[in-house]
């Protein structure tokens, strides 16, 4: 496997400009001769499909939802970062770049992150022009809020529904191109596999989820925008259908998987209320702007929160990190919450949360102002818990939320398989070992609107339009594989349901490869996962047939891939014998209990090469260089 990051030469401020000039272009009249497949219609996929349609490419877009607007980007609440410096509080492109590299604990590629910070400006302009109703100040100009890991106010937001409004903007632009005939939309189609012909990505095999029909689609290039893999934990804040299948199948066909162990645990989610629970719900991190996090000083304190006097409360983030207080980065806030709960200071009926208290904010700003900022989040909290956060503190606890790892890509966002591009959460590129809040929306849209539509031209201009089409024998082979897997799942006729296996995998991953990891636990996981996978294939029961809408079959196929992927994730976590960002190895902590990096041995991207079922994958490395942000121990004190 050859890993060439293709980082352009020149000063970091000029790399993207120079690169745009150096890249070859596709003649406008020739663009329509090129077919491009885009899988996934979240922020990255929808914005890429819309923009490439506008440019004149022939785009085929796929989603397993009934409409492109349902993708999980829709659930992002808090906001989107951009270095507009509208607040004149010292922000700049360089500062956003710096914050993101530092927040990622020095495990991301500087050149990519700088470009992301540059493009953040264009995203806000684009969204406003589309009619995204970002919050405004009384003078009519755009408003900002603060987010974790930053000391400037650079987050743009639309109440607590920023992801929804940005996705609807991209979705509307996409539908405009559907109307113009440049984009063909395939809804309720799930990608089952990637087709590689003579070393190049040439198409995908899909299942029509309504008819069960397995179909081939060919193209000159394939773009995956299929999101992250947090659902390997079963319980996460991801939507129920989010899965690893598209990226995992591409990995099996030769694409390197980078840093799978980097999984972000979001500090502010509603604690689990029972064993039956199907998913966890996130409460926007923006709440940490005005909410204060605390636990009772006394272990097992059963008093209701308002009866616990000020002196008996531990505002532990404010105590430990006076400079950032409640706005420390996510990995730190999450670990500290876990420590408090593990120490017996947890709150709530199951003692599995910490308080996020708005009493002081309501006293200071008034109930109306708090309601204007967070009203919909408070309402959601009350619906789920039956408790009123205006009167009693919220209870929160960390939950799996976002995955920084993903398919390896170069500066052009192309994987090591020529013609296979990967954008948004599905790639590994910009967040290093930990993502800062309000940066996922930024990355998805930067990749989709501004990067891949340009860089793909450089690839396509060097390859004549493909004449092979889906009649090529390679497609028949992949179709046969896909059908065989479906048949095997349907014919297992065992005794256990798909969900029972998924819950078992999730518990195992959470316990052994969750917020904290150690070598012993990871080795245990590496022994247990293959056994669980074997049990799954022998004993799963998938009712119904393959010729109709069959949600059990869909779930089973996705879980089969999680059962392979989970093993790689644990292997990566074991191999990375340091702590960095969200990857916290108990063996490697500073005296103050923070993640202790080992830059001499681990300042690299781990890229895994698939070697076949049951074979140990091979690790390749992309060394990271830090010319602009000097390597340092992160400090938020």
């Amino acid at each position: 496997m050859e890993l060439n990051a293709r980082i352009p030469a020149g000063p970091i401020e000029q790399k993207w400009d120079r690169h745009r000039f150096d890249m070859k272009l596709v003649n406008p009249a020739n663009k329509r001769k090129y077919n491009v497949i885009i899988v996934g219609t979240g922020l990255a996929g929808a914005s890429a499909a819309a923009t490439m349609g506008e440019l004149g490419y022939n785009v085929q877009a796929f989603t397993y939802h009934d409409s492109p607007r349902r993708a999980h980007s829709i659930a992002a609440q808090g906001g989107i970062n951009a270095a507009k410096n509208y607040q004149s509080d010292g922000d700049s492109i360089y500062r956003l770049f710096h914050d993101t590299v530092k927040g990622g604990d020095f495990r991301s590629r500087e050149a990519n992150v700088y470009r992301l910070a540059q493009l953040s400006l264009n995203i806000i302009d684009q969204a406003v022009a589309q009619g995204v109703p970002f919050a405004r100040e009384y003078g009519g100009l755009l408003a900002n809020r603060s987010f974790g890991g930053a000391q400037v106010s650079r987050t743009f937001y639309a109440r607590g529904q920023t992801g929804q409004q940005l996705l609807l903007g991209a979705y509307q632009a996409l539908e405009r191109q559907v109307n113009a005939g440049t984009v063909t939309m395939h809804t309720r189609h799930e990608m089952l596999d990637l087709v590689v012909v003579e070393g190049r990505a040439r198409g995908i095999v899909t299942r029509d989820l309504l008819s069960g029909k397995v179909e081939s689609h060919s193209a000159d290039a394939v773009i995956l925008a299929t999101g992250g893999y947090s659902n390997v934990f079963f319980l996460s804040t991801n939507a129920k259908l989010s899965n690893v299948t598209a990226t995992w199948r591409a990995h099996r066909r030769g694409a390197g998987f980078a840093n799978p162990c980097y999984t972000q645990i979001h500090p502010t989610c509603i604690p689990q209320s029972g064993d039956y629970q199907s998913k966890l719900t996130l409460m926007s991190e923006s709440l940490r702007n005005d909410g204060r996090i605390w636990v009772p000083r006394k272990k097992g304190d059963d008093r209701s929160p308002e009866r616990i006097p000020e002196g008996e409360r531990d505002y532990y983030l404010e105590r430990l990190y006076p400079a950032f207080g409640n706005l420390t980065p996510r990995d730190i806030a999450s670990r500290r919450a876990k420590e408090m709960v593990d120490a017996g200071q947890g709150v709530g009926p199951l003692k599995n949360g910490v308080y996020l208290d708005f009493r002081d904010a309501i006293d200071r700003l008034g109930k109306q102002a708090v309601s204007d900022r967070y009203g919909n989040l408070f309402a959601m909290y009350e619906k789920i818990t039956g408790e009123d956060p205006y009167r009693e503190p919220m209870r929160i606890y960390p939950a799996p939320h976002y995955t920084m790892g993903g398919l390896w890509v170069d500066y052009n966002l192309m994987s090591n398989v020529p013609g296979l591009f990967v954008i948004g959460e599905a790639n590994f590129s910009d967040h290093g070992a930990n993502r800062l809040g309000a940066s996922a929306l930024m990355q998805g849209l930067a990749d989709g609107y501004f990067v891949v539509p340009i860089t793909i031209g450089d690839y396509l201009s060097g390859t004549p339009p493909w004449t092979g089409g889906s009649g090529d024998a390679a497609f028949r082979d992949v179709e046969r594989d896909a059908k065989a897997r479906t048949d095997r799942l349907l014919s297992a006729k065992g005794t256990r349901t798909v969900d029972s296996f998924h819950m078992e995998l999730g518990r195992l991953m959470w316990d052994l490869c969750g917020m904290e990891r150690n070598a012993e636990g990871l080795e245990e996981a590496l022994e247990k996962i293959p056994k669980l996978r074997e049990a799954f294939w022998n004993d799963v029961t998938v009712p119904g047939s393959g010729e109709t809408l069959n949600q059990s079959l869909e779930k089973a196929g996705r879980l089969a891939d999680f059962l392979e992927f989970g093993e790689l994730m644990c292997r990566d976590a074991l191999e990375r014998d340091e702590s960095s960002g969200a990857h916290y190895r108990r063996e490697h902590t500073t005296e103050e209990g923070e993640a202790k990096r080992n830059d001499d041995e681990f300042a690299h991207v781990s890229v895994w090469e698939y070697r076949g079922e049951g074979e140990v994958p091979v690790e390749h490395r992309e060394e990271l260089e830090f010319e602009h942000v000097p390597l340092s121990q992160r400090s938020y004190k």
């Binding site: 109703p133 559907v178 119904g544």
Partner: protein, 255 residues
């Protein structure tokens, strides 16, 4: 709690469908309505029977995938709440619950509780956007927009496209859905250049898709999990009248 469920089961579009009765045992009040359906489905799968098909995804009330009639009410008993956010504390031990798909000619049933809502995409495709190319836009702060205008636009823009408005309407009209997008864009300065063209195109497709007309029942607003007001339908009608009088070329005359 122990509940009796009567759930609509239908194998496919052309099947006639009927209610099946299931017992749901061991339901706790902190479960969501969909957690409860999951539990019933687990038991069905365990017995080798086909689980109840229903659309769902985010389970946070924002993706708009879920939507079923619970005791004849879209999304069930709690106002401004999607089915995934209805919790079982809204029910009591021994309750009988009737669960059905959205019923509207324009939303044919695909299977069990799953319906085809693709007409909504086609209404947006007709003109529910502002035509700007990626990159060809001014700085975001070039056009100040009053806080009030943005908030009013946002109140319309929060539509999740679930289809409850259609299911609630005695005419199976999708006017609240259409109006929420028309109003969202018409209330903002960026939406002005295409304002009247947009409303004509979107309403035309709304009608072609077979949705009924609005006769001001207001059931849609009550059913809407985001509380979108029928005032936006009035706004749509004002724009539609103006557009029809001033902008629509008469049939058979030169444009």
């Amino acid at each position: 709690m122990r509940l009796t469920l009567h759930v609509w089961r239908q194998a496919g579009r052309d099947d006639t469908g009927s209610f099946e009765t299931y017992q749901a045992d061991g339901i706790s009040e902190s479960m969501s309505f969909l957690d409860m359906l999951d539990l019933v489905n687990e038991e069905l799968a365990q017995e080798g029977k086909e689980p109840i098909a229903f659309d769902h995804d985010c389970r946070e009330g924002i993706c708009g995938s879920c939507g079923v009639m619970i005791d004849g009410v879209p999304h069930g008993p709690k106002s401004m709440t999607t089915a995934c956010q209805v919790h079982m504390r809204s029910f009591k031990d021994g309750d009988e619950i009737w669960v059905e798909p959205w019923r509207a000619t324009s939303f044919p049933v695909i299977r069990d509780l799953v319906v085809d809502r693709s007409p909504f995409d086609r209404i947006i495709e007709a003109g529910g956007y502002i035509s700007v190319r990626t990159g060809s836009v001014p700085d975001a702060n070039t056009t100040p927009i009053s806080k009030g205008a943005v908030e009013t636009a946002m109140d319309a823009a929060v539509c999740i496209g679930c289809g409850a408005c259609v299911a609630a309407c005695p005419n199976a009209s999708a006017m609240l859905f259409t109006a929420s997008k028309v109003a969202h864009l018409a209330l903002l300065p960026q939406g002005q250049p295409e304002r009247y063209d947009r409303v004509l195109k979107m309403v035309d497709v709304h009608d072609e898709e077979g949705f009924g007309n609005c006769t001001n029942h207001g059931a849609c607003e009550v059913a809407c999990p985001k509380g979108i007001s029928v005032d936006y339908i009035a706004q749509l009608n004002r724009d539609l009248v103006r557009a029809t009088l001033s902008f629509r070329p008469e049939k058979g005359t030169a444009e």
